[in-house]
């Protein structure tokens, strides 16, 4: 009975139109399964056995990507509830914990973010220890470094959003650094050089910190700026660079291994 039902479904036109290959049973179908699926076709059809070992790759690149997906999904759910304004932000946080169904979305998002910072570091460490940044993979290492910076910026911009004491003072400490940017910070070395006829071009209302936090102090302007960067700006750039990163892994000869 069940067998009949199963074969009925598997042989139906609807099923066949979606899963064109079916469960692979021979090598040709194994190859077809990889080529025919948009998610799986990132992979080659065959991989080096040495590159498959967890003790070699530590699975840290894949874990970082998986955590990025977790952050995207939980972040999307959080966006349904969260309003990035000074009036609502903090209380939406409280509601997310106390009222919203599946009240662990914020926890998943925060712990996933911390974990992602760590896994990205470990991925870099593994790539370094196996010398996988060496030719022909120099460029992809560079893409990876930019992705590392973006991961930190994603986490940094997200840190402000709960709008509690922890958030604003952490961002205050972090963004105060921008005040001291050489040439472009009001208190940075060389900023005084950028003046025309005694009028300073770089002052607290025009320097790098002002651009970062949209004001002289952390406020509503900072919140909306960080929110947009956190939810749209940086993820878009990161997603694009991830596509380049994965593409280059393939183009540069697949997962690294001794030549």
């Amino acid at each position: 009975m069940l067998k009949k039902l199963q074969s009925g479904i598997v042989k139906s036109q609807v099923w066949k139109s979606i899963f064109r290959v079916g469960i692979p049973t021979d090598n040709r179908k194994r190859a077809m399964a990889m080529l025919g699926n948009v998610a799986l076709h990132l992979h080659p059809i065959k991989v080096k056995k040495s590159g498959l070992r967890m003790s070699y790759t530590w699975c840290m690149g894949g874990t970082s990507f998986f955590l990025f997906l977790v952050e995207t999904i939980t972040g999307l759910l959080l966006m349904f509830y969260y309003r990035p304004t000074v009036e609502y932000a903090f209380f939406d946080m409280v509601d997310l914990r106390e009222v919203a169904a599946f009240g662990i979305m914020r926890e998943l998002h925060r712990w996933g973010a911390h974990a992602m910072v760590i896994t990205v570091w470990l991925h870099m460490f593994r790539v370094f220890m196996t010398g996988s940044y060496k030719p022909p993979r120099e460029f992809n290492w560079n893409v990876g470094v930019v992705l590392l910076v973006l991961t930190l910026l994603l986490s940094f911009t997200g840190y402000l959003l709960p709008w509690d004491q922890l958030a604003i003072w952490a961002i205050t400490v972090g963004s105060n650094m921008a005040r001291a940017t050489p040439l472009l910070g009001a208190e940075g070395p060389g900023a005084a050089l950028l003046s025309i006829g005694g009028t300073k071009l770089i002052h607290v209302g025009s320097d790098a910190r002002f651009a970062l936090i949209a004001g002289r102090t952390i406020g509503g302007g900072t919140l909306i700026r960080f929110y947009v960067l956190h939810c749209v700006g940086i993820p878009l750039v990161a997603a694009w660079l991830m596509a380049v990163h994965f593409w280059r892994v393939r183009r540069d000869g697949g997962i690294s291994g001794p030549m």
Partner: protein
């Protein structure tokens, strides 16, 4: 017990713990036994024992169990494991290379398997395990939420997000333009330049230590000692007013640390010459400028002249050598400044407040 805790508190102070970690860092690359399975187990047990026993102390427990600090405790253990794993594999491969065998990776590299099912299934299992871990973690530990934001009440200490605490810790030794802008910028530049500076063709695609000693030592020094250790200090051992507190010390808001730091110019002009500080910044800071100028511009030339520096220069060529050595010297400026602070209470090598140019 209290005497032991007091002793550990004392050893934790940056001048001692940093020195100990330098000695430890040198030692771990001398002893190959440490990277064996037995060595790994011993290190894990020692770490777990230290952590477990320390948890009995209320001050220690309070700081490591703060919700946002839990991931950092995990990171320390996880990082320790992966350092051990990579070195264990490297040492095993080195042994194979010594006896003329191919590396472990080489013995399998010709062997290709189908992505479906081998890779796809292990990815799937990884995702399931990670999902379970994240969900359990999220149920067990609530994300922190403090009082609503209040721009007029600054918490003491105010800390940046944990991954930037190494930079915040650098603020003890450098001004914000160095600790917050130039040095982090150069970390990124240095990482990006790495594949172009490293001309060693060996060790590509397999774990090895003996074929890439200098690279691995430099990278691990930056990553483990300067980056991670400063994060650990900044997270767990810096309390109110960014004062230092040992792991079992109570965070006393009234702890007072005397401000006794002096500039190099003051040491030379006042203490050494018994003169006053010159009014103009150029004669006042000339010694600091000469010192740093010599460090960054003369020292690389001298290093290239003899010994191992000469072989680097010949292997890398002038452009790669000078960029690489400048980045290395900039990195080493941090530990040098730390020791100058601890030994001579040095505040700045060069202190030109007129231009906010202080190093």
């Amino acid at each position: 017990m209290d005497a032991l805790k007091g002793f550990i508190n004392f050893l934790a102070y940056p001048q001692w713990s940093f020195t100990l970690s330098l000695v430890g860092f040198a030692a771990i690359f001398w002893s190959k036994r440490l990277w064996s399975k037995t060595g790994g187990w011993l290190m894990l047990m020692a770490g777990t024992l230290f952590f477990g026993l320390s948890l009995l102390d209320p001050n220690f427990r309070k700081i490591v169990s703060k919700a946002d600090n839990v991931p950092i405790v995990m990171m320390v253990f996880i990082l320790g494991f992966f350092v051990w794993l990579s070195m264990n594999k490297a040492i095993n491969n080195d042994r194979r290379l010594d006896s003329g065998e191919p590396t472990f990776e080489k013995s399998e590299v010709e062997d290709k398997v189908f992505t479906w099912p081998d890779l796809v299934f292990s990815e799937f299992i990884c995702m399931v395990v990670l999902t379970v871990v994240l969900v359990v973690w999220s149920i067990a530990l609530q994300a922190p939420l403090e009082e609503p934001a209040n721009t007029s009440v600054a918490p003491n200490p105010s800390k940046a997000p944990w991954y930037f605490l190494g930079l915040q810790e650098m603020l003890v030794y450098f001004d914000p333009w160095m600790a917050g802008v130039v040095l982090p910028g150069l970390i990124v530049v240095g990482l990006m330049a790495l594949p172009y500076l490293d001309t060693n063709p060996k060790g590509n695609g397999y774990y090895t230590f003996k074929e890439r000693k200098a690279e691995i030592l430099a990278f691990m020094f930056g990553f483990l000692v300067l980056w991670t250790e400063l994060i650990v200090i900044g997270t767990f051992l810096r309390g109110p007013n960014w004062n230092f507190f040992g792991p079992y010390e109570f965070w006393d808001f009234n702890k007072i640390e005397p401000l006794v730091n002096v500039d190099l110019s003051e040491l030379i002009w006042i203490k050494l010459f018994g003169y006053g500080l010159p009014g103009h910044w150029l004669p006042r800071e000339i010694f600091g400028i000469l010192l740093l100028g010599g460090y960054f511009f003369a020292l690389p030339v001298l290093i290239a002249k003899r010994g191992i520096g000469k072989s680097w220069y010949e292997k890398m060529g002038p452009a790669r050598y000078y960029i690489g050595i400048s980045l290395m010297l900039t990195m080493m400026l941090l530990p040098l400044k730390m020791y100058c602070r601890w030994m001579f209470n040095l505040k700045y090598f060069v202190h030109i407040q007129e231009f906010f140019f202080n190093i």
